[in-house]
Amino acid sequence: MTDVILEKIGKTYPNGYHAIPSVDLSIEEGEFIVLVGPSGCGKSTLLRMVAGLESISEGELRIRGERMNEKEPAERDIAMVFQNYALYPHMTVYNNMAYGLKNRKVSKNVIEQKVTDVAEMLGLTDLLQRKPGQLSGGQRQRVAMGRAMVRDPKVFLFDEPLSNLDAKLRVQMRVEIRQLQRKLGTTTLYVTHDQVEAMTLADRLVVLNKGKAEQIGTPMDLYNKPATPFVASFIGSPSMNLLPANLVEQGVQISSSLTLPLSHNYRGCVVWGIRPEHLEITDEQNADFALRIQAVESLGAETLIHGVLEEESKKGIPMVVRLSGPHLPELNSLMWLTAPVKHWHLFDEITQQRL
C-alpha cells in the first residue's frame, strides 16, 4: 500500500528563491527512504515540508490518501527526530517521551505503558528520571528516537540524526535505527548528507541536487546504474572517475592517442566513468592507459592510489584506483591500468543522462 505520496512538491520562498522546483515520490508502507545530497540541495527543506514545519508552495502531499498540505504538524501523525535532538531540557526523559501523548489527551495509564515499553526497547529504563543534561550524546539520541516511537506515528522523519555523534557511535546507532525500523515497520523518511549512511539504511534512495531528485532507486541500482554523472560521483567512496570523452565509431575517444573500443550507436560528447574499484592493474601490452602515481593511501584492507593521466591532451586529469590488500607502488612511477567494458558508465554530456 502506498503510504506517503509527494506529488510535484515544490518550494518557493517569499523572497522568490526557488528552493525545490518539483519532486515526485511515492513511498510504500514500511519503506525506509533516504534523502541524500550535498548541503544546500533542499533535502532538509523537503523533509520539513513533509513534517509541516515548512509550507508547501506547489504540489500536494498525501499521507494514507489524505491531503496534508494545510494540516498542522501535530495533525499529520508524523514524528520527527532532529539533528540536535531538541529534547526539552527541563523535563525528565519520561516526560520528554510522554509530552506528545499528554497533549493528545491519552490516558495516564496508557502513556505509562507505552513509555515503559519503548524505554525498554531502547535500553532507557534506568534513565527515565534523568534530565537530558545528564545524558551522553548517544543516550540523548535514543531519547529523541523514543519520543518519536512512543507516539506510534504513521511516518518517522529523521533530520540528520547521527551527525552529532562520534564515528563509532554513529555506526552503532545506524545499525540500531535500521533494526528498529524493521521491527516497527513504520514508514521512514531519513535525511543525511553521508552517503555511507544512505547506502546502508535505505530501501530506496533519493539523490537530490539543487532541489531536484536526480535519481530514485535502491542503493544497488544507484551504485550500478547511476542515472547522471552527479549521482555517479555522489554515490560510492572514493567517487567515480569521470572523464569527458567523445563517442566515435571506434569507441570512446578519451584523447587523440587513447580510444577505448566500444560499439555504440550514439555519437557525440559524453562523460565516461569508471569506479576506482573497477580499474585493474595490468602490464604495458594489455593496458588501456597509464597513470602517474602521486599519492598512496594505505588503509590495510585496501589501498587507494591517486594519480594523474599520462595521455596527450588529457594530461594531469586525476584518477583514483582502489585495490584490495596492501600495495606499495613507488611514487611518480607509472601504473598500467585496464578498464573492463562491463564496468563503464556513459553519460550524455549535454542532457547529463545515462546512455
Partner: protein, 282 residues
Amino acid sequence: MIENRPWLTVVSHATLLLGIALVALPVWMALVASTHPASAFGVGHIPLWFGDAGLDTWKTVLLEKAGNGIDTPVFFMMLNSLVMALGITFGKIAISLLSAYAIVFFRFPFRNLCFWIIFMTLMLPVEVRIVPTYEVVANLDLLNSYTGLTLPLIASATATFLFRQCFLSIPGELVEAARIDGAGPFRFFFDILLPLSRTNIAALFVILFIYGWNQYLWPLLITTDDAYYTLVMSIKRMLSVTDGDIAWNQIMATTLLAMLPPVAVVIGMQKLFVKGLVDAEK
C-alpha cells in the same frame, strides 16, 4: 588564578573588611539609634552603642500610628508597599513575558517596529512622563488606589528586552519539536517557555521587587489618603516635623523595617538570581 602572596591576601581582606564596615555602619547606627529616646539626638552627637529605650520605640513603631499626621501604623504601610512592589513586579513580568513571546515567536506585520517602540520607552521613565501620567491616572479616577499605584509603573522595556534575548536563545528545533508534539501556543508557553525562563524570571523578580519597593515619587504624587501611603514615602513625611523634636528613634526603626523585605528577597532568591544571570541551561 591561584597566587600565593601573603601580603596580597592581607590587603584584599582588609579592603573587604573596610567595604563591609562602610556599608554596615549606617545600618548599625540606625539600629543603635532606634534604642535611644527621641531626646537623645538633640544634643548633637550620635550614639554608637545601644540605649535602653529600644523596647518602647519598637513597640510604638510596630503597634501605633506612625505619627506626625500619618493616620496609619507602620506595618500597614509596609503592607501597602508590599502590595505595590509585588503588583509592579508581577505585572511587569507578566506583561513583558507576553510581549516578548509575541515579538519572538509570532510573525505579524510591524513586528520589529513594535519591538523598537517598546524599546524606545526606555527613554521615558515615570519621572519624565509624570505630569501626563498623573493626568491620565486622575482622569481614570485611580488616585488613591492600588491600581493607580502599580499600573503606570508596569510597562517595562527592560524586562521585555531581557525576555526577548532569553527566548531568542531557545533553539528553533525545540519549538518545532513542541509543534510536532502537538503543543499549541498556550501549551508551548506554559510547558516549555515558562520553565525554561524560570531563572530569568527569578533574577528579574529580585531587581523589580527592589525597584517597586523603593518607589518614592509616584506614590508621593498620587496618594493623599493615608490608607494608601507606602513606607518609603512616609519616612520622608515622618521627618518633616514643623515644631517639636523629630522622632529619630522611630524613624530609624521604620527605616530598618523598610530595608527588611528587599533584603529578604535578595537573600531568598540569591541562588536563582545568580543562575539567571550566568547560566544558560538550554
